[in-house]
Symmetry: none
Subunit: 193 residues, 4 copies
């Protein structure tokens, strides 16, 4: 039933999705919904957090083992793209309308905050080590977060997202590396790519 709810919410958005839509998609009765969830908003918030955690965990885990910022970015981006491509509903839900319901705005902010932190931490470390030029890492992290979101959004608007997924990930990684201040040189000399 939560599967159904996730699908419906991500397709229609919070407001346009009706309880009836959800229970129909789940093949149960309205009453059943209210046996498991107190109300629509609570379900959405639960779904939102569940989903956000899933995405963040996946990215955090991908980033975790990597030694260099370069590898961290590559891995995090890949994880994001993979989820976007194989679980598009997850990304749609998180990117969809989440304002206009006060409580949701908070969750949304919290998600963004964590997403930003995911990138800011490695950046701070790299900055400390002098691997990247001086910069406002918070702002850079925000910018990266927004950049990734937007590219993924566009990717999912394509007719065949999977076909372009890996190219998109590569492009995003290169973008990120440049944006962060790493690797401007490698591209110049005798790099065939």
């Amino acid at each position: 039933m939560m599967q159904a709810a996730l699908r419906v919410f991500s397709e229609k958005g919070y407001h346009a999705a009706t309880i009836r839509d959800i229970v129909d998609a789940a093949g149960v009765a309205v009453g059943t919904f209210y046996f498991y969830f107190p109300d629509k908003e609570t379900l959405f918030i639960y779904l939102y957090e569940e989903t956000a955690e899933f995405l963040l965990q996946a990215m955090a885990q991908a980033v975790a083992g990597k030694a260099t910022l370069e590898r961290q970015l590559a891995a995090g981006i890949e994880a994001f793209v993979n989820i976007a491509v194989y679980e598009p509903a997850v990304v749609s839900l998180l990117q969809g309308e989440a304002e206009s319901v006060p409580v949701l705005a908070e969750r949304r902010a919290a998600l963004r905050e964590t997403q930003v932190s995911t990138w800011q931490r490695p950046l701070d470390i790299a900055l400390d080590r002098g691997q990247i030029p001086p910069q406002n890492t918070r702002r850079t992290a925000e910018a990266l977060t927004g950049a990734f979101d937007e590219v993924v959004r566009n990717l999912l608007d394509q007719p065949e997202p999977r076909a372009e997924a890996s190219a998109a990930a590569t492009d995003m990684t290169h973008f990120a590396l440049r944006a962060v201040g790493l690797l401007p040189l490698p591209t110049t000399s005798d790099d065939p790519d």
Copy 2:
């Protein structure tokens, strides 16, 4: 009255905003709304397009006169930040929920498309001239668009957006210059900054 509508829509989003909210904010009666606009959706679309055009025009104009990609980015970003800071409703409206109403989804896509083009064009030129490293300019443009949006969104969440506006613009510009592949040199040798 359109002022009021813009405000209400940008604060609550399309669905949560009520005709009553709007007319109350405008200090008129319900009927007055329908005297000037055929319905809620039409007004929102109108407002959305008007607003989108305003933002895009401002950015395009800022970019127009500039000779170098560096200056174009700086000017475009500055224009964006200025609007965000002085007309926050404009940005909120454009960034708010616009899905779930079919017609709106189209407008939204169109806006994004134009926004992306605003950056892709200069990038293509710079690429031709060998001023930036080889890259998928379309993807870079998307990423920049998302990056700017996100940073501005965060800026507006601050208690005093105006205080940080210019710092944010500077940060974004640096981010963009790096992301695009300009400025690799200054960072290397004996840069005092």
Copy 3:
């Protein structure tokens, strides 16, 4: 303006016709309407009575000079058909929805009453003179009224009412003469029946 109102009311019916429809058709402003008439209902009632009187006068006048019941029926029917054909709006208004507005129901009843009287009086005289068989003249008059209304309604539904007008009048007259009990003879002679 009353012309316009008559037209609009007869085309759309009382409820579906809006003040705006009427003033648009008349080429004046809404305020002007309320300068001349206190409200929609009053106008309709006025129009209804005016119109009813016009129709009844015409029929009464046609009937007036005639000596025999036969001629009276023929003349009254002809008058009715003529009005229906040359001023269809008059008939439409009178036959259209007039219930559901309490005051209108009364007028409607009054009109029917007078219409019925128009036929009952001559019938009573003819009955007195033994020209028609014994019958409940009130009921006969009602039936004739309904019969004429219905035939005229059907006539106006035709694509070219005028083309059939005279045939319809003749048919109605024959119907009425038979229904009243006149003309049994013509058919008898050598008709085996």
Copy 4:
């Protein structure tokens, strides 16, 4: 609930009848109405057709077994009067305002058509057999339909319709027999009534 709707519609007419009126009369809540019916118009059409079919069936059935035109008229009229007297709402609904809602106009026309056919068919047969004088049977059928409607309408306006029902039926039958061209003879000789 459909009982209530029938009652309300027949009393107030389509436009003046409110969903609230109907649900109040039925003792349920607004939502309940929309749980059973898609909307006001659909319910009205359904009711109208149901009701029309009921009336037409009853008349057709009454007419069916009868051998002579005389008996057919008597039986059809009796059936009509009975329904009018015992289910006045049925007749009111069918005679009430049904214009101004395009779809309804069609149904109304269809009802009238069938009603007319109910009488035209027997008339054609009788005409073929030479039992009634030459006449435009279509027009005669229209006239009879209108006559019956009107007499019934007047009957229902009486304080005690049931008291007069049988007299009305008799009067209508006599009227119809004369109007059709039957029975001119019986009335002449020494028949006291």
